[in-house]
């Protein structure tokens, strides 16, 4: 049987994490083709609605990546992202969605290696979890609190 290739959508902030992807490229560090980047100005710009939409439209996993705490170019966008997505993770669990399908990561512009690592481990993890199915009701209660 062919290996399951998950769709992963990654929202990356323009100033740090997109730079991280760029420097991965510069260093010739490949990252999985499963990960599709969406460049946004700041992790604080990523609305949880974008993430549920991505899940709804076929993403098996979603990442949000921003500058390390303290480094956000808009001062506190990543702090907002932290509060938002920690709450978001608790919420999607209630929908029976394994919260390991979502990942919030801080990746600096120079961290090409780190970019490669986090995207690779996310891809492997979601590959193991299998395709995400949204049925409109909780089919099985999950235990991943």
């Amino acid at each position: 049987m062919a290996r399951f290739e998950p769709n992963i959508v990654a929202f990356v902030c323009n100033w740090c994490s997109y730079g991280g992807a760029d420097s991965a490229g510069g260093l010739k560090l490949s990252y999985p083709a499963n990960v599709r980047l969406v460049r946004v100005m700041c992790s604080g710009r990523v609305d949880p609605e974008h993430v549920v939409k991505a899940f709804r439209e076929g993403a098996d996993g979603v990442m949000v990546m921003g500058c390390h705490p303290g480094d956000c170019h808009y001062r506190n966008g990543n702090h907002k992202a932290l509060r938002r997505f920690r709450l978001f993770e608790r919420m999607i669990t209630q929908f029976g969605i394994d919260k390991r399908r979502f990942e919030l990561e801080w990746v600096a512009a120079g961290e090409g290696k780190r970019f490669q690592d986090v995207t690779t481990s996310m891809t492997e993890r979601v590959r193991e979890l299998g395709p995400l199915e949204i049925t409109g009701n909780v089919v099985e209660e999950t235990t991943h609190a």
């Binding site: 609605e49 506190n76 932290l82 509060r83 709450l87 608790r90 999607i92 929908f95 409109g136 089919v139």
Partner: protein, 324 residues
Amino acid sequence: MPKVKAAIYWCSSCGGCDESIVDLGERILAIRELVDFVFWPCAMDPKTSDVEALADGELAVSLINGAIRTSEQEEMAKLLRRKSQLVVAFGSCACSGGIPALANLKSRKAIFDRAYLDSPTNVNPEGTVPVPHSLTADGYPMELPVFYDTVYELGDVIEVDYLLPGCPPNGDMVATALTAILEGNLPPKGSILLPDIALCQSCARNETKPDQLTIQEFKRLIHVQADPVQCFLNQGILCMGPATRDGCGTPCIQGNMPCTGCLGPVGSQDQGARMVSALGGIGEAVREEDVATLLDGIPDPAGTFYRYSMSSSFLGSHRKDVKP
């Protein structure tokens, strides 16, 4: 002018929507001058065959409240659709699932197990659960409606012309909407008959809300005496105003109760995701531990943020782009 015919029907609902029509008080007399309610199970004793006997399109309007959980509700919705020129999704359950659709957070099996097997007040040694086709004790075939896996909003099973959310819609909202319908003074089909702005915009407490809210913790209403003037969020009391549609006249806020979100999301937004966004934007916590402590004050995010809009949510409703 001859009276027009209308129907009022209930699906998965509590009866509050019917009650809100009765609550129109004497205003209903003026409406009765123009409208003949030929089918209204809550208030009269009509039969389905009365509706079947009508010509297609003979009803000027059907106000249908309640969500769709069973095959019988879907059939009735379809019958009324055929007989009606206009169908209004009346109340939050018909518009977006309402309270019944919170059940989408549980599997059908878990619901049946709880209701028929595990509940401590049940005596059911044979483990009988309802099935669509069975025989009665004396051998007659018995049909029950099918209980669906998912709670649907009305628009998932039939075409809906207008929506009037509210749990229930209050008298003024109902009177305004009915007048607009009877006068034919209506926005484009598919519209929600309410403003498309967030509740905070018309809330008298909005002025007390600072530009940057800094919440230390979320408090439960039972543990505090709410200040009658301050924005609830500013007091650390969860208020759904930022993610909820305006149009109710803020009765809850005036009664010193925070908004629980009954008018559903603004625009076509996902109400829960919007609320997560709004709440993440406020607060002071920046360290993981502090964020965790802050969030412990919201023990049931999905149930709180989608209390009335699960069937129109992105994760807790059926895939509308895929036919069921």
